[in-house]
Point group: C2
Chain length 347, copies 2
């Protein structure tokens, strides 16, 4: 731990023999500084190892160059891949991130977390918390809504809030239509927890794809899991009992799909001949399951990037033009990745 004197703009100004605001002009790359003066100041800053205090700067500029990121479930792969995109893009745009994680998905802790972000004068907020139950209810309370732009990373845009998201409904349709095209006839669904919006959307995609093909989706053709592999293990066994004619299943994520493969192998059900399987998320491991798993790929890294890019665009618009930008909404369609697990009932 190096012992270092805390340098200020004043120290630099004195060393060079100019006033502090001339130094300030150089820091901020303003014109109107004699090139030679600018050069001398730059050299002095370099030599002395001076770095402007961002807190002081933020205080007088009323602009912190800071974005708040609120996540939940970082230990899952989805949120962290998104966060990966967010950090990449924020670095490029010259913004620093304040990271907050909700300890649970529901609504208790939201107010202190928001307040701590507001107190730190964030220029914008990215909301990377999945919509579960009524954990979006606070959006209705205009008292709580930020005075800065906010970007929502999932569907269900509420009035006035921008959003960027991946179309989970389309993902469900894609996966199910693919199974139909491969010649499977009786397609079940192993869903995520249905208090999650994403789980409901994927299920709705499955239902509508069946309906569009003139098939019915009965209640007993689907069973609910909680995203974990162990929940999938239980769920698939129940589904096989409830729906014995089932010859294919659309599973709402790859972790549960892994358990489906596991149980199938235990029960001597051949995948894909006796049971076609598609997952969702396209984990890097899924290509190495036995058999390799077909899945729905969502580009979460890109999602994170775009959300920062658009948010920064809004922030700068407010600062430069002083006008409130219109909320925007961007949708990406996920893509089907075909592997052996769904290659059809006949081989």
């Amino acid at each position: 731990m190096a012992k270092r004197h805390r340098l200020t703009i004043k120290d630099v100004a004195e060393a060079v023999g100019v006033s502090t605001q001339t130094v300030s002009r150089v820091i901020n790359n303003r014109p109107d500084v004699l090139p030679e003066t600018r050069q001398r100041i730059k050299e002095a800053m370099e030599r002395m190892g001076y770095h402007p205090n961002a807190l002081a700067r933020g205080l007088s500029q009323r602009h912190s160059y800071t974005l708040g990121v609120v996540t939940a479930g970082l230990k899952y792969i989805g949120p962290s891949r998104t966060l990966n995109g967010i950090t990449d893009q924020a670095e490029q745009e010259g913004y620093t991130l304040l990271l907050k994680e909700l300890p649970r998905f529901d609504t208790d802790q939201i107010i202190p977390i928001l307040n701590s972000l507001y107190a730190r004068q964030v220029d914008g907020i990215i909301w990377v918390v999945p919509e579960i139950g009524d954990n979006r209810a606070w959006f209705q309370d205009s008292q709580l809504l930020p005075a800065v732009p906010m970007m929502l990373l999932s569907k269900s845009p509420h009035s006035g809030v921008s959003s960027v998201f991946i179309d989970n409904y389309q993902g469900g349709r894609l996966a199910t239509e693919h199974l139909l095209n491969q010649g499977y006839r009786h397609i079940g669904h192993l869903s995520g927890p249905l208090d999650w919006l994403d789980a409901r959307l994927r299920k709705a995609g499955w239902q509508d794809a069946l309906q569009a093909a003139g098939k019915e989706s009965k209640e007993e053709h689907s069973v609910e899991g909680n995203w974990s592999s162990s929940s999938g293990e239980v769920a698939i066994q129940r589904l096989l009992e409830q729906y014995p004619e089932m010859d294919a299943v659309f599973v709402a994520n790859d972790q549960m799909a892994l358990s489906v493969l596991y149980i199938a192998s235990k029960m001597n059900l051949r995948v894909p001949q006796d049971l076609g399987v598609t997952g969702f998320d396209n984990l890097p491991e899924s290509a190495f399951f036995s058999p390799p798993l077909s899945s729905i790929e969502q580009d979460l890294h890109k999602l994170g990037c775009i959300s920062v890019k658009e948010l920064v665009r809004m922030v700068e618009k407010i600062r430069l033009e002083n006008t409130n930008p219109e909320p925007i909404s961007i949708v990406f369609t996920p893509e089907l990745v075909v592997r052996e697990s769904s290659s059809g009932p006949h081989r």
Copy 2:
């Protein structure tokens, strides 16, 4: 986006009819305020929706209540699980996190990222970047070392820097000794990329365990992967060629171990009878591989928590006692989780 006037301590003071520093005392929970006055001020703050500006506060206090977290490889599960622990504990301690991610593991981008943290007056830094190649070389440059305490989340503590880490060497020994105890005789190793310290430590554990059992570990008994499942697929095939007597393999992570199971199944090698397998990381999915995978569990969440707790302890010690605390070093031993993939050559 709610339109809101930016309230200051002055507005509150005027509303209540006291001076600003009385309000300040209430904000900071100082004694020496008439209980009734305190109550009136609290009510006013609540009613007006006032929140102190953390930037102004940090500026005058010279204490930002902010920690910098530098990560790399967030898209992998390890760093995000650690980050999960860090966010949890930081919230509890009342500190906010600034998150930075290195775009690559090597050293280029380090200086601007450190400077941006210093500029924001972080009270401490947590370094969650794996040691690869010489990406720790900058530790030697005391010019670059932070003036605030730093916590290193891996082995190889450099002089004066505190560290908390999980003993990867012990993990390698545990895994290998387990295979020996199960009756396997010819134990190979599929390592991670050997410019990673963790990969070298796991390998050294394998070597020493063999040696302690009176066995030799030849060069051709081990092959290097790059942590990914696809690298594992190539590596295990090469290892089987190089070391045909091999009847068990310690794989340096679960993702590569998954490929080992995949290739074994393709080649009609039975696991665990013909080939025992242990992984490392204990992914939640690993219990559902075919067969379920034995692995080494590292409690990364706890690692993250402890690092924050100890760092905050150091920060507060400096603030209160104005003494530089001694650097500390804490080691955790990982644990073996036994499953079917290593249950022995005889069934």
